[in-house]
């Protein structure tokens, strides 16, 4: 969908073609992330962290994980890509509250996260490695593969069956990616995701509850009226 006849991707691609974006992926130009129909909302909001290749990856990812159906609009229409972009651009993405001193060892799984990467760096390098893997396996970047291939790739990633050559551990990348998709879906809408509180409406979560003293009895084993309230609604 083009808004105001302006294709962001086409513009960006022409601006960076052969430049830094290509270098990070090291895949042939012909199979690189191509302009797709970006949603109007995403286009209007812009990205603070994601570059075009990463934007394409994240948009494809969130629309795959949260497809449109009778229950909710699709991921980009819920702002999940915006949530992810803002998280990566902000303090959390930059490694706030992450002990970042070496030496760096892999350790054992029970010792938790041990990479010398902030979440933003993990995302950036993970997306590049994922695209290299997809090109090798499916001849196209993640955003251009078929839905079935995307599903196959994500399932393999989740199961730890994908090895990134010269990239971060694929499973750690997946864990972070999945966590941020779910956060985007269910965090307060003021963070950019969960647009129109669609994630909360999906499950019947009321959001900012103030008083429930009477409601425990009143709604015992009865549905609670679903009219979720966010922080912005009460500010």
């Amino acid at each position: 969908m083009k808004k105001d006849g302006f294709d962001r991707r086409a513009f960006l691609k022409s601006a960076v073609a052969g430049g830094a974006a290509a270098a990070t992926v090291s895949v042939p130009q012909s199979v690189q992330a191509q302009p797709t129909a970006a949603t109007a909302a995403a286009t209007a909001q812009g990205y603070a962290f994601l570059n075009p290749e990463e934007g394409a990856f994240v948009e494809a990812l969130v629309d795959h994980m949260v497809p449109a159906d009778e229950l909710t609009p699709k991921g980009t229409d819920l702002g999940l890509n915006i949530f992810i972009d803002r998280s990566l651009a902000g303090g959390w993405g930059k490694g706030d509250r992450l002990y970042m001193q070496g030496p760096w060892k892999t350790g054992v799984p029970s010792q938790g996260y041990q990479l010398p990467l902030t979440p933003a760096e993990l995302y950036r390098n993970g997306i590049a490695a994922a695209n290299v893997h997809c090109v090798k396996t499916y001849k196209k970047t993640f955003d251009k593969v078929t839905a079935a291939e995307r599903e196959e790739f994500l399932l393999a990633l989740q199961a730890g069956k994908v090895t990134f050559e010269n990239g971060p551990p694929s499973r750690t990348f997946f864990t972070t990616v999945y966590q941020t998709v779910m956060e985007g879906m269910f965090a307060d809408p003021m963070y950019g995701g969960n647009r129109n509180k669609a994630g909360w409406k999906l499950i019947g979560f009321p959001g900012v509850i103030a008083v429930n003293y009477q409601n425990i009895e009143k709604y015992r084993d009865k549905p609670f009226p679903v009219n979720p309230v966010g922080i912005a609604d009460m500010s």
């Binding site: 269910f186 008083v211 425990i216 009895e217 709604y219 084993d221 500010s235």
Partner: protein
């Protein structure tokens, strides 16, 4: 050179529950007290008010009120043959870092630990024989009795607005309460919370299985309340944002709205926030402490605060770290089993099942921190439960209900549901309202190889060695976990759910993710003599009589219960010992 300030009577390191209690009690006794707190000031009106406190992302997943691992963390490993790695972000436990400490964001479950813990070795040896206790299980008696602590439990329960139902009033069993609790002189401060549907259906099932369910006692005021100190509580609103959040209604018993403001009104008290204590200082004899060294984290300046008495009240983990950094007491060595500081670190274990009931409405977003019904039939407090058959020491409690079931973290679906896509979405929508949990919390017995020391490699932002935690579950916990999983699954089946994800006993090693509980215990344990403990029964250092160390670090082993009942009671007990004995005659309160 550190700037040296004027000497004061008492320095408190950390201002959460234990620091707050000591601050109030000791200033009231006329002592001049300075509290050094690494975190900033927070108030209910400004920081915990609606709507902005209702932010799951910020408070649960981004750890807003908690220790910042960028500055200080631990290294962790499961056993001595592993190389410890830093816990690079918080996960398994979440120590607080604001005025009020973890007491701001706790849930409030408040238990009385009994002689079943305090006399554990004697009782098990007497009943089951010496051989029943494995060689590497380093459980020992604590040197204190329930009778001594009973009035202090009551004091803490009334301060913190604990709502519950007595099970044993002065020896008389009370219907609806916990029949296995030790006798109490008075009922709880407030009646139990209104049960939610999940705890109700669990209670019915537990009863049908022959167990004895009771409402979990918790510091969530079931109605508006004024405590004996005059602190005002609102009634709990079952807002569903309890654990990890400050309470906007002042309904959760927390130090920042009870003991701390009282101390702050006292001219004898001074609070310095952003004051990170790095060391306790000793005199040349090594038998007295002379004060503490701290860094003002707003300026980077290093400051020495001399004091006639020091109390470490910096949470269970940090207290041990400070003792090791200060070189007070001999560090524990698991090979020779010599030394005491760092010994008997313990944690907890557990198992849980999720039950799905098509058509029911559990409204999991409406609950208090303590909206659980519990059974103690397999807990340490039930001495009738035959351990010879079960094959383990200690016990576990089982609860049904919800606590802070917010949607980023809590989205129950039957096992095998896809993690994304349309099927994930419809299952998430279908089961969120219709599921409930039954979960067990199990004790961890002390073990020779579970301990703390200083890490040889990694350092914190102050250039000091991180503390190293060596911990894993042992056979006792595995047996207990299997027993608990079986009991949970039997109860679950008897409830005829549409389907359920059965409880599975854990077999994998302890891991730093995900969150398990902030119930870390041991490291500077209390005991009967300097050879087996760091502190005497008044939590006074055997080495330096003007040093007291207060928190769950004094527990000689861990129980299935949450720790703050005895932590609060022991803080009052220690305050009384300081006021009534130590102030009159400073010196060891127990002769070594």
């Amino acid at each position: 050179m550190a700037k040296k300030l004027k000497e004061v009577d008492v320095v408190l390191v950390g201002l959460g529950w234990t620091g707050g209690i000591l601050a109030k009690e000791l200033t009231e006794a006329g002592m001049q007290v300075v509290a050094l707190e690494r975190g900033g000031m927070r108030s209910t009106e400004n920081d915990y008010s609606v709507p902005h406190v209702r932010d799951e992302l910020r408070f649960v997943h981004r750890h807003d009120l908690m220790q910042n691992t960028q500055r200080d963390t631990l290294t962790v490993r499961n056993n001595v043959s592993q190389e410890a790695q830093p816990m690079r972000r918080l996960g398994s436990f979440l120590p607080g870092e604001v005025v009020g400490g973890s007491g701001v964001h706790w849930s409030g479950h408040t238990w009385r630990w009994t002689d079943q813990e305090f006399k554990i070795r004697s009782l098990y040896e007497e009943r089951y024989g010496k051989k029943f206790i494995p060689d590497d299980m380093t459980i020992q008696d604590w040197g204190i009795t329930y009778a001594e602590l009973e009035p202090y439990y009551e004091k803490f329960e009334y301060t913190a607005a604990v709502s519950g139902k007595a099970g044993n009033l002065r020896g008389q069993l009370q219907a609806g309460g916990n029949p296995f609790e030790a006798p109490r002189q008075r009922d709880y401060a407030l009646p139990p919370l209104t049960p939610i549907l999940a705890s109700q259906v669990f209670s019915e099932a537990a009863k049908n299985n022959g167990y004895h369910p009771f409402p979990r006692p918790s510091a969530n005021a079931s109605r508006a309340y004024t405590n004996p100190d005059g602190s005002h509580f609102g009634a709990c609103q079952y807002c569903g944002y309890c654990q990890r959040f400050g309470c906007e209604a002042n309904a959760k018993g927390s130090p920042h709205m009870t003991v701390i403001p009282i101390a702050m009104k006292n001219p004898n008290f001074e609070l310095r926030t952003h004051a990170w204590v790095t060391r306790v200082l000793k005199d040349s004899t090594g038998k007295r402490v002379t004060g503490v060294l701290y860094t003002n984290t707003l300026t980077g300046e290093e400051v020495e605060q001399p004091a006639r008495m020091v109390a470490l009240t910096a949470y269970a983990i940090n207290n041990v770290h400070l003792m090791l950094l200060s070189g007070i007491g001999r560090p524990y060595d698991p090979v020779s089993q010599q030394g005491v500081v760092g010994k008997n670190y313990c944690y907890q274990t557990g198992a849980s099942a999720t039950l799905f009931f098509e058509g029911r409405h559990f409204n999991p977003f409406m609950n208090a921190g303590g909206s659980n019904a519990t059974i103690d039939d397999f807990n340490s407090t039930n001495w009738e439960f035959d351990r010879a058959k079960a094959g383990f020491i200690g016990g576990y409690n089982v609860g049904g209900g919800f606590n802070t079931a917010l949607p980023i973290g809590y989205r129950p679906v039957p096992r095998g549901t896809p993690s994304w896509g349309k099927a994930w979405k419809s299952a998430t929508a279908k089961w969120y309202q219709t599921a409930m949990n039954i979960s067990a919390s199990g004790a961890v017995m002390s073990n020779r190889y579970n301990y703390y020391d200083l890490d040889p490699t990694y350092r914190n932002a102050f250039g000091l060695p991180l503390m190293r935690m060596t911990f894993d579950y042992k056979e006792n916990e595995h047996k207990m976990g299997r027993h608990a999983a079986q009991v949970i699954n039997d109860i679950a089946k008897s409830m005829n759910p549409t389907s359920f994800n059965p409880a599975i006993a854990r077999t994998e090693p302890w891991t730093v993710v995900p969150y398990q509980s902030t119930h870390n215990t041991g490291g500077t344990i209390m005991g009967t003599n300097p050879g087996n403990s760091v502190l005497n029964k008044y939590l006074q250092s055997w080495d330096c009589h003007n040093l007291f160390v207060v928190g769950a670090n004094v527990f000689a082993h861990n129980n299935s219960y949450n720790p703050t009942g005895p932590v609060g009671a022991l803080a009052y007990w220690t305050a009384d010992a300081i006021k009534n004995q130590y102030m009159k005659n400073p010196g060891p309160l127990v002769s070594a």
